[in-house]
């Protein structure tokens, strides 16, 4: 007897966090993400974890970084206005290489926007919201089950690469309920941050060592390493530096850390692209409508392919460049005024015509709208 559940996307996110080993949540209520906090406030103490509702969004981001520094996997959840507030500390986590997961359930913006309506308006903000040059890993699910899987994956990436990972949901996937069969606990791969050799002690420990794989072993607070973590640029010892060569080295390593892991981070799905003349490239909830539209187009005899990506950043540049080589047109439907389409245009390099299908009114793009664009492009 299979154990199907009817589950909401936000709940799946919370359940997955627990399964992934998250034992600390700090956040602030905000529509449409609040259910994640509510479910975790109930589940975390049941497994000996801790939940705290902080006084504001900034404090939530700070607290999860603090918790992670003690060796505990941590997470927060928010939406646009809160995501804006969190940017400074998100950059702090990036520079100090603290693993943590930040869920942003996108709603219509800017500003207060339409709190109960979906969007994909934070795509560029997720990439560039915090100041300074910084790479970032951003994942975006299209279904409740995928929300579960990508939440686990977000924790794993955070731990393996010592980075904050953003899970970019949208209000549709967060609030919809779908029948899901969740994986058994034993079938879920769980990663942990690299740690100093046991017994090695603090002598010679460099918390920001430029290791071969670009991910320095991370000691936890309270284990006797007595190391310094700062948002100032620092050398391998963790202490602040104004040396420009040291700064260059740190900057480069932070970027290399992501660059050299592009294969591991890439998550593409394709359908009927082999002989396609037109491709539809989508992500998040929009990918559901896009897949339906592509299948309808195929049923009408059109040579259309479908590509979706669950990894928004780093952007699958080579894959898109390769698609642009093979097809004539790429349609990019998005619940925004055209954000990720700019990356598609950039990497298509003019080899295929890139057609934006923006919709930024708080409504999901429908299969018919996308089909209409496909037929217009034929």
């Amino acid at each position: 007897m299979t154990d199907y559940k009817l589950m909401q996307g936000n709940e799946a996110c919370a359940q997955a966090a627990i399964a992934a080993g998250c034992r600390f949540f700090a956040g602030y209520p905000i529509t449409p993400s609040s259910e994640i906090a509510e479910v975790l406030s109930r589940l975390l103490p049941q497994v000996g974890g801790r939940f705290i509702q902080m006084e504001d969004e900034i404090a939530g981001m700070a607290a999860i970084i603090g918790a992670s520094l003690t060796g505990v996997k941590s997470m927060t959840a928010t939406s646009g206005p809160g995501f804006s507030l969190k940017q400074e500390n998100l950059g702090f986590a990036s520079l100090t290489e603290v693993p943590t997961v930040v869920v942003n359930v996108q709603r219509m913006g800017p500003s207060t926007g339409m709190p109960t309506s979906p969007s994909q308006g934070d795509v560029m903000q997720a990439r560039w919201g915090t100041h300074g040059d910084h790479p970032i890993v951003v994942l975006s699910p299209s279904s409740v089950r995928e929300t579960y899987d990508l939440t686990v994956e977000a924790f794993n990436i955070a731990e393996e690469l010592r980075v904050p990972v953003v899970l970019l949901m949208d209000e549709v996937v967060a609030h919809m309920r779908e029948k899901v069969l969740l994986p058994e606990a034993g079938d879920i791969k769980i990663s942990h941050r690299p740690q100093p050799e046991p017994g090695a002690g603090r002598e010679g420990y460099l918390p920001y060592r430029h290791t071969e794989d670009c991910v320095p072993p991370m000691a936890s607070f309270g284990h006797g390493y007595r190391h310094h973590v700062t948002g100032l640029f620092h050398d391998e010892s963790g202490f602040p530096t104004n040396d420009h060569d040291e700064a260059a080295q740190l900057m480069q390593r932070l970027h290399d850390k992501i660059e050299r892991n592009r294969q591991r981070l890439q998550k593409l799905k394709e359908e009927s692209v082999d002989d396609a003349e037109i491709c539809v490239f989508a992500y998040g909830s929009t990918a559901r409508s896009a897949l339906r539209a592509v299948r309808d187009a195929r049923a009408r005899g059109h040579k259309v392919g479908f590509i979706s990506t669950a990894t928004i950043w780093p952007f699958p540049d080579k894959a898109i460049a390769s698609v642009a080589d093979r097809v004539q047109k790429i349609i990019v439907p998005e619940m925004n005024m055209g954000q990720l389409v700019r990356e598609v245009q950039r990497h298509a390099c003019g080899k295929a015509e890139v057609i934006s299908l923006p919709k930024a009114n708080g409504q999901l793009l429908t299969p018919d709208e996308i089909l209409g664009k496909i037929e217009e492009a034929l």
Binding site: A26, M54, G222, G231
Partner: protein, 272 residues
């Protein structure tokens, strides 16, 4: 007497603070308090925000965390809640704690979470070269108050007491010995402890406000401090512009992480 060397990262000294800055004196009081309180060396975590005071964290041989402006307290809250066995010491300045960090300060008081916040109050934003802060006295001169400050300052001890802190005290760099005792008591308090340490910024506040040198600023602290017992017998007019020193408040209230342990106990039964 404490051998403070074992708590210092000697290779980071001399520190960046100006000659005569009171922050080193206050930091010394913190370190001596750690020693007197017998806090286990590996269980102390020092968290700071941004500013001159916050640089103190880098000089101390503990697990140290130098965060973003005003946010030391929520970072520390995450550390403490995730690992309640750790002893949290927050080093912050008057701008860091009372301006941008004000919201976090009052909520940590309200939660009565077990940590000790030491505010290095030099009445100025020193690191950014001398702008006025919420603690700059009315009429004080600063780079962004060239005609004199028109704002009142907080009484940070009243603020934190009213917000729920269970140990509140005020000392001065001049009274470093007493200050260290207050901080030590703060460590021993199982709850939110707040110690305001009046410090001197000779370079910015001092110069612009007619203090010729750091010694004069310490003399001013000495001559304008009124112990709380004596202050209780004076009229408000006599206390204007004075520094009331001593233990302002002490009480016993349930501590946040202990209350959460009870939640875990209840939830674990329900969840199984």
């Amino acid at each position: 007497m404490a051998d403070v060397e074992k708590y210092l990262r000697a290779h980071t000294l001399p520190h960046i603070w100006c000659p005569g800055c009171g922050h080193g004196t206050v930091l010394g009081a913190v370190v001596r308090a750690v020693d007197r309180a017998g806090l286990p060396h590996d269980e102390v975590v020092v968290v700071s925000g941004i500013g001159c005071a916050a640089r103190g964290a880098g000089y101390l041989d503990f697990d140290t965390l130098h965060t973003t402006h005003g946010r030391a307290i929520p970072f520390a809250t995450g550390i403490k809640v995730a690992n309640p066995d750790l002893h949290l010491i927050i080093l912050t300045g008057d701008g860091d704690a009372a301006a941008i960090g004000g919201n976090h300060l009052i909520h940590a008081c309200r939660r009565n979470i077990d940590m000790t916040v030491v505010v290095f109050n030099n009445s100025i934003y020193g690191m950014t070269s001398g702008q006025y802060s919420p603690q700059t006295p009315k009429n004080g001169v600063a780079t962004t108050a060239p005609y004199g400050n028109i704002e009142r300052s907080f009484d940070l001890c009243s603020l934190t007491r009213e917000a729920g802190a269970t140990y509140v005290a005020r000392g001065t760099a001049y009274g470093a010995v007493a200050l260290s005792r207050y901080i030590e008591q703060g460590f021993k308090n199982k709850g939110f402890s707040f110690i305001e340490a009046i410090s001197q910024c000779p370079t910015y506040y001092g110069r612009r406000n007619r203090f010729a040198n750091p010694v004069k600023m310490l003399e001013w602290q000495r001559d304008n401090s009124v112990p709380i017992a004596k202050a209780a017998k004076l009229e408000p007019a006599e206390l204007r512009d004075k520094i009331i020193t001593g233990v302002m408040h002490q009480s016993q209230e349930p501590e946040y992480t202990e209350l959460y342990e009870e939640i875990i106990a209840v939830a674990s039964k329900r969840g199984s």
